[in-house]
């Protein structure tokens, strides 16, 4: 899968990504999960960095971090940096996954029965 060439038109040269994040390469740890749902608290402000403006428009409805990354064609870690800025500025809210177990290698990580029942019900209705 990762051997596949990037889709044509993907504009993710290292220079551009460096510029987009103001030179930062590490996202704030553990703030955003891949499936944290992001909701914009309003539209873009005039003169706002174009990537931030795009995120706000995409997130007019709840949108997972990974969907934002796919839409912007940027690595997940870069998108998390931008989301961190928007969150700090109060321009987005983050709806975090309810199931997020501690990271203990080797330890079983199991959801609760109520969560599983909800998933099963949803799948059976497909």
């Amino acid at each position: 899968m990762s051997a596949r060439p990037a889709p044509a038109g993907r504009d993710d040269g290292p220079d551009r990504l460096y510029t987009v994040t103001g030179g930062r390469s590490r996202p704030p740890e553990n703030v955003f999960d891949l499936v944290t749902l992001i909701v914009a608290e309003g539209g873009p402000a005039p003169g706002m960095q174009s990537e931030l403006a795009r995120i706000l428009r995409i997130c007019s409805a709840p949108t997972a971090v990974v969907e934002i990354a796919a839409e912007l064609r940027m690595p997940v870690s870069v998108v998390k940096i931008l989301l961190g800025d928007l969150l700090e500025a109060g321009r987005i809210t983050a709806r975090h996954p309810r199931f997020s177990p501690a990271r203990r290698p080797g330890a079983a990580r199991l959801p609760d029965l109520d969560t599983l029942k909800q998933v099963l019900d949803g799948l059976q209705q497909l």
């Binding site: 899968m1 889709p7 609760d112 019900d121």
Partner: protein
Amino acid sequence: MDSSSSDTALRPGRAPLRGTADNGMKIVVVGGFAVGKTTLVGSVSEIRPLNTEETMTRAGVGVDDPSAVPDKRSTTVAFDFGRITLSDENVLYLFGAPGQERFWFLWDRLFSGALGAVVLVDTRRLEESWYTIDRLEHHGTPFIVARNNFGEPTHGLDEVRSALDLPDDVPLVDCDARDRESAKQVLIALVRHLHTRVEASQRAGAAEEETTP
């Protein structure tokens, strides 16, 4: 590039979630190259599967083959995903992830908190799955194994179980990744397995309490 309508205009693959959606969940479909991960995800997803990537710096790579890394400072792994709206609040994301070695350095960062995993196997290349199963056990991610069965099977499932050295309590199911109903049954098999595991661990916890004064 940034006309005001470009991101909100309706186009294939971009269907907004309900405003009430507030709980994202993850299931990971993991397997070797061309085993049918994206096909399975696409069969049940409400959106056309999307592709994205994550980069990691060399410091986070550990032992890797430098010849496989175009930029010596970082490497990139790509993965697909799809989405299923389960209810007004719950949204399930399905990730198709490669089982190759370098991917596992990113497992915790990407898939910590996954409900569980489906190991998709091709009986012609079962040995590719040994490493995947070993890594899932190491990370403590519950999983089932699904054989993607395109035509007449050349092996019985018991032979597959034996070749994979799969414990009896890990379900092994047949599927056709192209078929929506079949892909759905794989996910249901995983959730049922999780249910069994949770009940077993609760019984074990209760038994422990009884023996503790």
